[in-house]
């Protein structure tokens, strides 16, 4: 099979995902969780045997002076409320009123993030993603410094940047869509997932690069294109198998794990799938592309 021959199809498929993704991101934006926007999350459980309509609950809280943006049922008798930041006294008062109105309620979770922290977290998140990308690209360039001609470690570095941007864009775009249609919010754990995806995406690329390096030394008689192609085919089983095992464990977490990390796990899952795709089809053909512009007749 000649993957390189069909590379334009693979690029086209990636673009077909990324272009609408970027448009979605530009129009919808990401729905920011309280980590980045500030605010209060309050999850309560109403005593057994009673049910509360979430709309009624929201109206009641608004009457009591809270500024509620949404109230959703997380289980039959529990409700998750998102509101503007409230302080200790306000929440105590609200809780008292709620107890009077709806019978005793149990606090499952209460999270409050003020404006100072949310701003700081946003800055840190952007910085972390930037730093991780730069560090990884430098690392790849350094790790492959001994790669023989006709390619170079700089070319590998470039490929890594493309693969990383590809993966980050796909994950972020998916979450822009999820945010718009399913109210999925991004929080610090989402950034954590993004960084992890960056690490793993490179994981796959490195395995392919490593094989290209080895085959370039071993099969000097072959032209560059077929060396790259063979290296891709040889590492394909590994890439797919590894991704499958990672997908298995993540599916177990998504379906059976704790509720508060579901979004995190979903981001990892999307990232690992796109990371595998990008390392096989996007990352590896690129050294030749860059190279062919410089010295088109060499191989």
């Amino acid at each position: 099979m000649n993957i390189i021959k069909y590379k334009n199809w693979f690029f086209a498929f990636s673009l077909a995902l990324i272009i609408p993704g970027v448009i979605a991101l530009a129009t919808f934006g990401l729905k920011l969780g309280i980590d980045f926007s500030g605010g209060t999350l309050w999850e309560v459980r109403i005593s057994e045997g009673r049910t509360i309509n979430n709309q009624d609950f929201q109206n009641f809280l608004n009457q009591e002076g809270a500024q509620v943006s949404s109230a959703t049922n997380t289980a039959e008798n529990s409700i998750l409320v998102r509101m503007r930041t409230v302080d200790e006294n306000q929440i105590n008062q609200i809780r008292k009123k709620v107890n009077e109105q709806f019978g005793s309620v149990e606090d499952l979770r209460l999270e409050t993030v003020g404006p100072t922290i949310s701003k700081e977290l946003t800055n840190k998140a952007v910085l972390a993603v930037f730093l991780a990308t730069v560090a990884i690209v430098f690392y790849v360039t350094w790790a492959f410094r001994t790669v023989p001609a006709p390619t170079s470690s700089i070319a590998f570095g470039f490929c890594t940047i493309f693969a990383l941007l590809h993966d980050i864009l796909v994950v972020v775009a998916v979450f822009a869509v999820l945010g718009r249609f399913f109210n999925v919010e991004v929080d610090t754990l989402f950034i954590t997932a993004l960084l992890t995806v960056i690490g793993f995406s490179v994981h796959d690329s490195i395995v392919v690069f490593d094989r290209i390096r080895e085959n370039l030394k071993k099969h000097k008689e072959q032209n560059f294109e077929s060396v790259v192609n063979n290296s891709l085919l040889e590492t394909m089983a590994r890439s797919l198998n590894t991704s499958l095992t990672a997908i298995f464990v993540l599916m177990a977490l998504l379906l059976f794990g704790g509720a508060s990390i579901k979004i995190f796990v979903l981001a990892l899952l999307v990232g690992i799938i796109t990371g595998t795709y990008s390392s096989i089809f996007t990352a590896a053909p690129l050294p030749k592309e860059i190279r062919s512009k410089n010295l088109p007749l060499d191989y």
Binding site: R109, A128, L189, E214, N241, G257, I261, L268
Partner: protein
């Protein structure tokens, strides 16, 4: 590393047994209580209980900013340290097992991050933490028995006019070398405000040669109380006593908590009820087990006998990682468990790389043992380079985040490091002993 594969196998078995021993939960089997050991080395004491973070144990985390507006810049560090110290002792008085108070500084602003897992009465914990420290100086009651001068009880004292607000700063200092004091020790110097100096002069005049006690949040500190030696009119007092450097520092910190009261504002708060935590633990155990089982089924179905060895190595890996979590100790959170589970997937990756390589070599007609050696040798650079990239991201995550993010970064990093050992050394050894045969 010993060369003889059988010796290595023995070492692996010992390691596994040690990990199992550390991981034994406290249970009763047929009426006999079984439990994991405690580590009791000189500087290394561990009860080896699994430590649960906020989202698993329930509890509260507070992120509070300190208002330094009324405090001189040079005293900022002392003020925040005192606040930390006093909050720690207040939380300890609640009888909570694992609390943690950290000072964070960013963009010149100080913050205190307080974690109290496992607490049920969150409301009173929050109010106890937020309370401003109250320091007062007390003098002997008029009706105190005469012997109270020397062996006074806390209840023999009454509030004086002098409080923490009158104190500017307390500082520990080494004793000035002089003829009267032969023993070189430490003292605590107190600097009072102008108003405080006047009050102090009055008090020292009225209570000369009598004790003066200091109470922080209604609890006496530095007991027995110092005796007033002379009338102090310039507002500079000194507490002498045979203090060590640490004792003097501790006392200064306690006094500063009253002298430099910090108004604290809650910037971020996370409270998790106890029920949600228990549900999360149950779910995590199920998810972890399912994760391991599904990976095991896949590996054995795809790689047959090689897969069996990889799964055996994976089980040892899981045991060792969990034991390491207990030894360090790592506080487990939901995200931390996700990091661990993800590292299971990664641990298999190394084996997949090696096995694919071995299969390839076998296809080209290499004999079994050549394929074995080439497989391990050639896969190593890929495994090393790719894991380094993951370690780079975990390092950045660890520095970027707090709480869950850190937990995830830490467990993933530990997992990756141990997996490089288990997937290579352990699997390699199994294959050498049971698969390659005599070389």
């Amino acid at each position: 590393m010993p060369k003889n594969p059988r010796v290595v196998l023995l070492l692996i078995i010992i390691l596994t047994l040690a990990a199992v021993y550390i991981n034994i939960p406290k249970v009763k089997i047929f009426g006999i209580e079984v439990a994991h050991p405690r580590l009791n080395l000189q500087n290394f004491q561990r009860d080896l209980e699994p430590k649960l973070g906020l989202d698993l144990a329930g509890g509260v985390q507070l992120d509070m900013s300190a208002d330094m507006a009324n405090i001189e810049e040079k005293d900022h560090q002392s003020a925040i340290e005192s606040a930390k110290n006093i909050i720690e002792s207040r939380i300890n008085s609640l009888g909570v097992a694992e609390s943690n108070v950290q000072v964070a500084k960013s963009a010149g602003k100080y913050r205190l991050i307080i974690e109290i897992p496992g607490i049920t009465d969150v409301d009173s914990a929050v109010s106890i933490v937020k309370k401003t420290a109250h320091l007062e100086f007390r003098t002997l009651k008029a009706d105190a028995p005469p012997e109270a001068t020397l062996s006074a009880l806390p209840e023999n004292f009454q509030s004086s006019t002098l409080t923490g607000g009158d104190l500017k700063l307390a500082q520990a200092a080494p004793t000035q070398a002089s003829q009267s004091i032969k023993d070189p020790g430490y003292v605590v110097n107190l600097q009072f405000t102008e108003e405080g100096a006047q009050k102090l002069e009055q008090i020292t005049t009225d209570n000369l040669q009598l004790p003066m006690a200091m109470f922080l949040d209604l609890e006496p500190i530095s007991w027995p109380p110092p005796i007033i030696q002379s009338i102090i009119s310039d507002g500079n007092a000194q507490i002498t006593g045979s203090f060590t450097a640490d004792e003097a520092r501790e006392l200064a910190i306690q006094l500063n908590a009253g002298a430099l009261p910090l108004p604290l504002t809650i910037e971020r708060q996370t409270r998790i009820g106890p029920t949600i935590g228990q549900e999360a633990i149950d779910k995590s155990i199920v998810a972890t087990a399912l994760g391991i089982v599904s990976v095991a089924i896949f590996m054995i179905a795809y790689y047959r006998i090689l897969g069996v060895f990889a799964v055996a190595a994976l089980l040892i890996y899981s045991l060792v990682v969990f034991a390491v979590f207990k030894i360090i100790p790592v506080t487990l959170t939901l995200a931390g468990i996700a990091g661990f589970i993800l590292s299971i997937g990664m641990a298999v990756d190394a084996n997949v790389l090696i096995f694919e390589r071995i299969k390839e070599e076998l296809r080209t007609g290499s004999p079994k043992h050549d394929a074995f050696f080439t497989g391990f040798d050639r896969a190593w650079t890929s495994i090393r380079d790719s894991n380094v990239s993951s370690l780079i991201t975990t390092a950045i995550l660890f520095n970027f985040g707090s709480g869950s993010v850190r937990g995830f970064a830490l467990t993933l990093a530990i997992g990756i490091l141990i997996s490089m050992f288990s997937a290579i050394t352990i699997t390699r050894n199994f294959l050498r002993v049971f698969w390659v045969g005599k070389i």
